[in-house]
Amino acid sequence: MLKAVNLCKSVTTLDTELTILNRISFELDEGKSLAIVGESGSGKTTLLGLLAGLDKPTSGEVWLASQSIFKLSEEQRALSRKDNLGFIFQSFQLIDGLTALENVMMPLELKGDREAKIKAAAMLKKVGLSHRLTHFANQLSGGEQQRVAIARAFVSEPKLLLADEPTGNLDTNTGQKVIDLMFELNKSSNTTMILVTHDHHLAERCDHSITLSAGEMVESSLDKTEAIAK
């Protein structure tokens, strides 16, 4: 389903080159979940961004559904995201000014789905927000906003769901509910899921995990693609 091969990302500062990710390789099967754990600054979010094609690596490849995504143009990657990916952010990233319903409708509308409204409303009902359809993002609590974000991520039935610290901005109790919801939806829709988290309990709920430290993959329960590639 998803394969990362020798992913490297470095940025050039004033006088030095800073390596953010170094030779990360792994492979994840369809319907499985993976937790990326590590300390702050270890490169987790950067890795997630590269897996989603939101940024380009310095070198290396990502294969999504047998397609090397960095051989695609940025425009084609956006199309591939539309068809294959769902995204959940730590800071929710709902579009200001759109209602909860309109936020969830957005990915469907981008696909030209005529039933966007019905599907979005149904998904919001699933996440327990049927009474909040016409509320704007700033009228919702943090937990509610994250549930809208989850609904938005799952509504288009993505093949791969990427979540960046989905509970990072939530209290333990709400965070737990959000996680339960995510896994429930993941299970029911057979989505492949990758989570970036600090939370070891959350990591343990995933089928696999990898640990990053200073841009290096120091621990993994997955096959090394590098070896496979060889």
Partner: protein, 861 residues
């Protein structure tokens, strides 16, 4: 405790940091544009005003002229001397000149040796031969006379004429003199003698009708001071002569262009206010985090506000400084570049006029930026924890109130006339209310439209609806900018086309009056034989208004109304079947309801000498009872004299009395160079009187000698030559037209720059949104399309609001201020939305690229 000094240091640091980051650039840009455009307009106004007033002086013969039926007060002359004004005098009276057993009533001017102080007199040995410029007056015992006196008296240079008790020798023909434009219907031709000969003529006796003219020139400010000082001391018989009296055409062109320029100035101020408000709003929004942090670090509301006020002051200093320099350089370049248009050099720019725009820009900044900045002091410190917390919104009233106070103040500074200002301002407020209501109405309906099949269309509409505040601000900014630009352009176009029409190459430049009835066809023949086309020939009977509704005018009218020009002299009354060119019926009905046979009451009336019209309008239309004279009069004259449809005017024509009932009121475009009449009667109604005829035609330099032929063949007719004065007027009008063009270019450029800035403003908010959409898989195409649709809606809505306001405002401006006939601007209805949309497309090119190019992760991290 933080000291004031520390606050300044903190403000300076933030200023430096934001300057580097570019956060302040928009506000400084708006301020700079504000200052630059106001400076340009003020400088150009100053230069053009000085230029045109110099030209007006040429026509007036001085910077300031006072006329009086008695010698001026000694104190006035002393005051003028104290102010170091140079003075010339002339005494004007009507007298008869005799020669060769012929006589001609003339307007004699006895002038002092330094006459005229401005402008020039041109004298030729024989009419229409090479004229030379002279100053002062003819030598003792000599006289200059207009060619038509020469023709009537069959005199020539060197011949003696009798004037009162003395003989004077003809020293030349007057080809040009100051104030020649006013002689249009002044039947008596001019003769000029030296003031030293006046006494010897013994014409001036106690009780004689004499006009004393005092001409002054001097420093602009001193002339203005003298004007202000002397004005209240004038009695009703004395007056300050303006360019209007001497040359109504040039006068009204100058007056209209001044109105136009000051209107453009005012409209620009509105533009700039909007620009400043937008930039300040953007600046303030970006400072919310900073303010929350300051509050967390222990600063109180007042200190936070002080810091941002100091920043505002720094912004204004930079903006004003840079703007003034740009404005100055720009106007110098433009005037230089357009030097050809201005004919001769304009006077140098006066730096002191920049003080006003500086003050104006600063007040605008305060009024329009304050409401946004005040928000900063109320940013809750909790925002550091919850970013979505925003300061309490400032109430709409305080936002608009502050803006209104600022606008009112700067307009007062600019106009100085409180009464006029209040009415202009009331109009502006009404417009603001219409703007506001329409925008609100539109906004309330937008979400209903989001049923399109295109996600981009839906998204664009939702965005407009979602950010109501911003959309409203943009709607207001775009529509007011478009409103200002379009208004400035259309009024310019109307004014210029009006002038071009009246100054068209085939516009008549000669009038022939007093043509005896029997000779009228011959005049036409002679003109036709020389390929000169003339306007319609009009019969004319001269009469003086003596009664209104059978009451003597002294009883019927107020003291003020009695001063109207139309009552002081004999009016030319004509009759015609068709409405003359440049005339428009504004009340009543033009169609004459009586035919000439029925309506020849004069034939009867002359038997009993008077005719009073008893029947009312309706009965006048019925046959048999149609013994009614219908007259049509000029609307302004009617307004001043308090006349209305159905009122009866009685004229004294020769020894007879003749009355007519008003059946229509006409507006007259006095700027057409064709014969215009205050009074037009129904055809046939003046049959009992012997009319003379009036004609106007265009003579080129080549066939100018035709004047002499016409004069010789029709000695009793009088030819009024306006070609020279028209050339001067044309020059003035061309100059003011260029000024108007120039100012229009500036206003429109400022508008475009501000629209550009507003577009940039919209993109700063779209960066983050675009990143989220990209993450969700939206293509660049989708994002660009949705943004463009947003602009399309904004363009359509802003243009719609602007057009409605333009039609309303121009209806008022045309009628009340510019005296132009109002017409709907149908073209604008498609031109404005299209133009605005195209402009937005061009302006958004960079913006769309900017928000869709960066990798989405970099924006979301």
């Amino acid at each position: 405790m933080i000291s004031q000094w520390q606050l300044i240091v903190i403000a300076l640091r933030i200023f430096k940091r934001d300057w580097r980051r570019g956060d302040l650039l928009n506000l400084i840009f708006a301020m700079t544009i504000a200052m630059a455009s106001v400076s340009v307009i003020y400088l150009i106004i100053d230069r053009v005003e000085t230029g045109t007033s110099q030209q007006s002086s040429q026509i007036l013969g001085a910077d300031l002229v006072i006329t009086s039926p008695k010698p001026a007060e000694e104190s006035w002359l002393a005051k003028a001397k104290e102010l170091q004004l140079e003075r010339a005098e002339l005494v004007e009276f009507a007298s008869v000149l005799f020669a060769n057993d012929k006589l001609q009533l003339s307007a004699v001017k006895a002038v002092s040796s330094n006459y005229p102080l401005k402008g020039r007199i041109e004298i030729a040995d024989t009419p229409y031969s090479n004229a030379k410029v002279v100053t002062g007056h003819p030598d003792k015992g000599k006289i200059w006379i207009e060619p038509r006196i020469l023709a009537v008296l069959s005199a020539q240079k060197g011949q003696k004429l009798e004037l009162g008790y003395i003989d004077v020798e003809v020293d030349g023909a007057i080809m040009l003199q100051p104030g020649q434009g006013s002689t249009l219907f002044n039947i008596a031709p001019t003769a000029i003698i030296g003031l030293q000969d006046l006494e010897a003529t013994k014409i001036i006796q106690p009780g004689s009708r004499v006009t004393y003219r005092y001409l002054f020139v001097g420093d602009k400010n001193k002339i203005a001071e003298f004007n202000e000082w002397v004005k209240p001391q004038l009695d009703t018989s004395q007056r300050l002569v303006t360019i209007f009296d001497e040359s109504p055409m040039a006068g009204s062109a100058i007056a209209r262009s001044k109105k136009y320029i000051s209107l453009s100035g005012l409209l620009t101020l509105i533009l700039l206010g909007v620009a400043i408000a937008m930039s300040a709003n953007r600046f303030a929004t970006r400072q919310f985090d900073m303010s929350a942090l300051m509050r967390c670090f222990g600063m109180n509301n007042k200190q936070v506000l002080s810091i941002f006020l100091i920043i505002l002051l720094m912004v204004s200093l930079v903006g004003i400084g840079v703007g003034a320099v740009i404005g100055f350089v720009f106007q110098a370049m433009m005037v230089d570049w357009l030097a050809e248009l201005f004919g001769e050099n304009l006077p140098a720019a006066d730096f002191s006029v920049l003080a006003l725009p500086m003050l104006t820009s600063f007040i605008l900044l305060l009024g329009f930026a304050m409401p946004s900045l005040i928000q900063l002091k109320s940013v809750p410190p909790m925002r550091v924890l919850r970013r979505q917390l925003e300061p309490m919104k400032v109430s709409a009233w305080s936002v608009y109130g502050a803006a209104a106070v600022a606008l009112f103040t700067v307009m007062y500074i600019q106009m100085g006339d409180l009464k006029l200002l209040v009415s202009v301002f009331a109009g502006l407020l009404a417009m603001a209310v219409i703007f506001g209501l329409m925008s609100k109405l539109i906004m309330s309906q937008i979400r209903r439209l989001t049923q399109s099949k295109s996600a981009a269309v839906n998204y664009s509409l939702r965005q407009l609806d979602a950010n109501k505040g911003v959309t409203l601000l943009h709607l207001l900014a775009f529509s007011s900018t478009v409103f200002v630009m379009a208004l400035v352009v259309i009024i310019k176009t109307e004014l210029l086309s009006k002038w071009q029409e009246s100054l068209a190459d085939d516009a008549p430049n000669h009038f022939m009056v007093n043509i005896p009835e029997a000779e009228a066809p011959k005049v036409d023949e002679l003109l036709a034989a020389n390929q000169v086309s003339s306007t319609e020939i009009y019969p004319m009977v001269r009469g003086r208004v003596v009664q209104i509704n059978d009451l003597d005018i002294k009883e019927a009218l107020s003291e003020e109304a009695l001063q109207h020009n139309s009552l002081k002299r004999e009016l030319n009354i004509t009759w015609t079947e068709s409405l003359p060119k440049g005339n428009k019926v504004v009340a009543g009905d033009w169609g004459w309801n009586t035919n000439s046979e029925e309506s020849s009451p004069q034939k009867r009336s002359r038997k009993d000498s008077t005719l009073t019209v008893e029947s009312d309008l309706d009965s006048a239309q019925s046959e048999g009872e149609g013994a009614t004279v219908s007259i049509s009069i000029e609307d302004k004259m009617a307004r001043t004299l308090g006349l209305d449809l159905g009122d009866t005017l009685t004229f004294s024509i020769g020894a007879e009395k003749w009355s007519g009932k008003i059946t229509s009121l006409r507006s007259i475009d006095w700027q057409t160079f064709t014969p215009n009449f205050y009074i037009i009667a129904n055809p046939g109604s003046l049959d009992g009187f012997s009319p003379t005829y009036i004609n106007s035609f265009k003579l080129s330099k080549e066939n100018k000698k035709l004047v002499a032929d016409l004069t010789n063949e029709h000695p009793t007719a009088i030819i009024i030559e306006l070609d020279r004065i028209f050339a001067e007027i044309k020059q003035i009008i061309e100059k003011v037209s260029s000024a108007i063009e120039l100012i229009m270019i500036f206003v429109v450029s400022a508008g475009v720059a501000l629209l550009w800035a507003a577009m940039e403003h919209t993109f700063s908010q779209k960066l983050h949104q675009s990143a989220i959409l990209r993450t969700l898989g939206a293509s660049r195409q989708f994002i660009a399309t949705s943004f463009r649709f947003e602009f399309l809606w904004l363009a359509i809505l802003s243009a719609l609001v602007a057009i409605i306001c333009i039609e309303l405002v121009s209806y008022f401006l045309y009628g009340q201020i510019f005296d132009i006939e109002f017409q709907f601007h149908f073209n604008l209805w498609w031109q404005l939305p299209t133009g605005l949309f195209l402009l937005m497309m061009i302006a958004s090119w960079r913006g769309v690229n900017r928000v869709t190019r960066p990798a989405p992760l970099s924006l979301l991290k």
